[in-house]
Amino acid sequence: MNTRTVHGLAVIALFMSACATKPPPPLPPHPEVVSLLRKVQSIAILAPQVEYTRIVFTGENERLPLMEKNISETLLSEFESTIGGQYTIRKPPEDQPEERKREMEFEVQQLRAAFATRVKMSSAEEEEKPTTRTRVTVGTAATALATRFDADAILLSRYSGFQKSGGQKAKDIMAGAVLGVVHAAEGGIVEVALIDGTTGELLWMARGVHARFPAGARSTRPTTARGAVGMALAGFPPKEAAAAATRAAATVPESAAKSPAEPLQKTATQPQGKE
């Protein structure tokens, strides 16, 4: 299998490995993203929500807390180094009482919930009538946090990844040999969203993925979580012309998220010309 084919299948196999639901593509940027970003001086980078799981053949999958901690630190450091050069980074005070920390964490969860609700709704609208710009607001869930951090905008992020055990990899190889595809042995996806702290509007959203394949199969996709962040932030801050393209580039092929029971050969015919 050549590099080109494997590359095209990277995202596909990532989702085929563990996902039965099609993830909606990132929403288009705010119509005035460029001018609004000019007013942003400070950004609160919220701790990413990280889930990392070891998939084992028997199904006794387990979360790997140490790995999650490492990935969380990597993501934060990547966000800070990329965004910190252009904006002032705001962080929560470290000496907060436990109760206040928990309350803040709950506000973050509320923001995630409000954002998820909006993304779901807007994605359905996008599917019916695709646009290159969209206005999406999460309301006061964002402004409360922005007030707390004294930040002009909030960077919300999430990462979900996996690694497979030897038994699971062997099973994938067997299935792949029959169906003619290669499954990722490990991988992940990172999503970032920048939300205006004053209005609660989504300014910009992007996604990056990484995948590592068994020996012999090469891919030009990033192989680490750090690489996935680089991919997601490649278009940040968005320029007028580039903003519209962000969404198209990050869209997961529809076939990528179908049930694992779908014939995999179909996915190999997806357009692969964006290398």
């Binding site: 996902c19 028997t58 309350e103 969860q109 995630r112 409000a114 409360a144 038994g167 990899k169 702290g197």
Partner: protein
């Protein structure tokens, strides 16, 4: 190829093991073996991790009164022999879905969405008794032995949703999801505990009736707290069991309505706040109306009711989607235009609710916020300016100061 096939070698062995697995003995008859089995050890480890995650994410409702009350009621239901083996703890979760669940380590969670629906302590006892039974009967272990873990699938399926306050649910499903047989057994045992604790079993019927009224999307699909078809005959099965097992029905015992309503008020406020956050306007209105029956003098309840109407007026697409979501239909343009057409009426209702709140407490800052935002939506700049400034002047901790000041800034522009 031989090496590749080696990965499949455990399959026959697993099938044999699955076939040979036995139902674990309940804690009431074999407390000594609790936590010894490797499967159960793993479950307990995961349950503790989930407890930590829920706490760390601030998902626990931390009112000391509510917490103490729920624990007092819950502990009264635990059979003594099980209490010596497991440290039962009862938590209230800041989650608007109508649901409750038990983890194998004795942690029992009940959502504010469910607590806000109940009418008295006896009904709470039945809910908690049911969940206690899952732990006592070791249902998680039983389930673990008979199915594969689905945690990873659920986690990654949620990938594009940025997580939610219910991000714990996939893990909960893996630890606390139960078979229909186990649910039926928990219903029976729950009634036994409820009876032994002296609660009137007549409340069981009422609880099942309440659950039948829960809108499909208000609960976890297929759960015993939903109006799932399988749940329709639970009441009949419960009545039959009460008769056949000759349980004491405690006919004269009080259902303890007053005690329950004291804590339900706080829970109801949280439930409405959470619903508004995820744009469940109609459900928030329903909850506010229901809570106002018992607490008509609460300025907060009037305020949240007003907020639900105001937000509904300003978000016709969201309101139409919620309406469709509740009724299980697709949202359509006609519904959106209907909500658009009702904008003034909705804003007028919101205004009346904010005025009701201020009539009860003229220093109630949020009431001015509501009036200011309605005025803003109506294009009444002077009215908006006056009310929003009053809000900022009177409020103690203005969480949305940035948002309000931005509006004031726009109003001040010529």
């Amino acid at each position: 190829m031989a090496r590749r096939l080696a990965g499949f070698a455990p399959v026959p062995l697993l099938l044999i093991l699955a076939a040979c697995s036995t139902t674990p003995a309940p804690l009431t008859s074999d407390a000594a073996s609790y936590g010894v089995d490797p499967d159960e050890k793993l479950l307990l480890k995961r349950a503790t991790a989930l407890d930590d995650e829920v706490r760390k994410k601030g998902l626990l409702f931390t009112s000391s009164d509510v917490d103490a009350y729920v624990n007092e009621v819950g502990k009264r239901l635990v059979p003594a022999s099980a209490a010596s083996a497991v440290n039962f703890r009862f938590y209230v979760l800041r989650e608007p879905l109508v649901n409750a669940f038990a983890l194998p380590n004795g942690s029992i969670y009940v959502n504010v969405g469910l607590l806000a629906r109940l009418e008295n302590e006896a009904q709470l006892a039945q809910v908690l008794g049911h969940e206690v039974a899952h732990v006592v009967k070791r249902h998680s272990l039983d389930r673990q032995r008979s199915r594969r873990n689905t945690m990873i699938v659920a986690n990654i399926a949620d990938i594009a949703l940025f997580g939610t306050s219910i991000a714990y649910l996939p893990a909960v499903g893996a630890l606390a999801g139960q078979s229909r047989e186990n649910e039926a057994e928990a219903d029976r045992s729950g009634l036994e505990y409820m009876s032994a604790a002296g609660y009137p079993l007549a409340e069981a019927d009422k609880l099942f009736a309440l659950i039948r009224e829960v809108a499909p999307r208000e609960s976890v699909w297929g759960s015993i707290y939903s109006s799932h078809p399988d749940n329709q005959d639970r009441a009949a099965r419960a009545s039959e069991y009460i008769r056949s097992a000759k349980l004491a029905v405690n006919p004269g015992a009080p259902a303890r309505v007053e005690q329950y309503l004291k804590v339900r008020y706080e829970v109801a406020l949280e439930n409405i706040r959470l619903k508004l956050n995820v744009r469940q306007y109609q459900l928030a209105i329903n909850s506010a109306d229901s809570a106002l029956v018992h607490s008509p003098k609460s300025a907060w309840l009037h305020y949240y009711r007003g907020e639900a109407y105001r937000e509904m007026a300003e978000d016709p697409i969201g309101a139409a989607r919620e309406q469709a979501w509740i009724s299980g239909r697709d949202s359509d343009k006609e519904a959106v235009s209907q909500f658009r057409g009702k904008k003034q009426a909705l804003l007028a209702t919101a205004t009346r609710s904010f005025q009701d709140a201020l009539a009860l407490d003229e220093g109630f800052a949020e009431g001015y916020r509501g009036l200011g935002l309605v005025a803003w939506a109506n294009g009444d700049a002077p009215g908006a300016r006056t009310s929003l400034k009053q809000y900022l002047d009177r409020g103690k901790e203005i969480k949305d100061r940035r948002y309000i000041e931005n509006i004031l800034g726009r109003l001040d522009k010529p």
